[in-house]
Amino acid sequence: MTRIAKVAVISSGLVAAFPALGGEAGIPARIRVLKGARQGPPEVVPALKDLSRQLSHTAYLRWEQVGELQVTMDFHKPVPVDLPGGMQVVVTLLESRRDTATYEVRVPSIRTRSRLTIPKDKRIVQQVTPERGGEAFFVTIRPWP
């Protein structure tokens, strides 16, 4: 009885401590910066083929990738993403469950902030600049790429 009790106590302690000691420290993410244009023949560059179906829901016809960042994001640690023209987007990993991740995307220049929760196999595409001359920039985030 005593031995069983000892084993139970030690086991419960180890089980309780395991998530803290072995828990996930961060989540890998692929962050890409895209430029969409309304003018010209429809075209999606090969690097964005995986997004073509999602991008087809917009009014933009030509898509190209202008930047990419592959990073393991720590929780609550902002990751700046530079945009052409000196603008910047700040992406922060807020929370995660087993199959979802929640990000905050801030665009200080247009005073816009979004909180996005997406499943493991999905991507966010967010416009981060207002349209100018038929063109706009977007950021796409995919957790666990």
Partner: protein, 162 residues
């Protein structure tokens, strides 16, 4: 004589047990039945003999030291002052004998709480399940969210809709 069977069970009745009517009928029968009178006399002669015999036998026995003799026959270990194992004293005694277990038991909840705190702090895991969703707040633009099978698309337009 023919009614003896009817009154036989009444012969052993004690005083006051019979109804007045039964008592009268029994008296009438005894008045004319010699056999039942003889039987009643015989019953009354032995009445009380058993009780008197038991009392006499008990009187011959000296019970002065009865309790001491019984206790003397019980093994000493069996009648030692019982321990109150269910109480605080038993718990103290148990913990005194198992110090490591006592310390581990005290630390286990604290360790579990600390581990949970660290886990939540490090991973940012929300206590409740986070459903997929989009929440956009903009001070300058008008956001539009398109849900697609591959994930959400968030478009922002100038306030005038352009």
């Amino acid at each position: 004589m023919k009614d003896c069977g009817v009154f036989a069970h009444l012969l052993g009745a004690r005083a006051g047990e019979l109804e007045p009517e039964e008592e009268a009928r029994l008296a009438a029968h005894l008045g004319e039945c010699e056999a039942c009178r003889a039987r009643l006399a015989d019953d009354r002669s032995t009445e009380g003999m058993l009780a008197e015999g038991l009392a006499e036998a008990a009187a011959r026995r000296d019970f002065t030291h009865f309790a001491d003799e019984v206790m003397a026959r019980i093994p000493a270990r069996a009648w030692k002052e019982p321990e109150h194992r269910g109480g605080l004293r038993a718990l103290k005694a148990f913990l005194g004998r198992h110090k490591v277990l006592a310390v581990a038991s005290a630390l286990a909840p604290a360790l579990a709480a600390a581990a949970l705190y660290l886990f939540i702090g490090r991973s940012g895991v929300a206590p409740e399940a986070e459903e997929p969703g989009v929440e956009v707040v903009s001070e300058t633009l008008s956001p539009t969210v398109l849900d697609t099978s591959d994930g959400p698309i968030i478009l922002v337009n100038d306030a005038d809709g352009t």
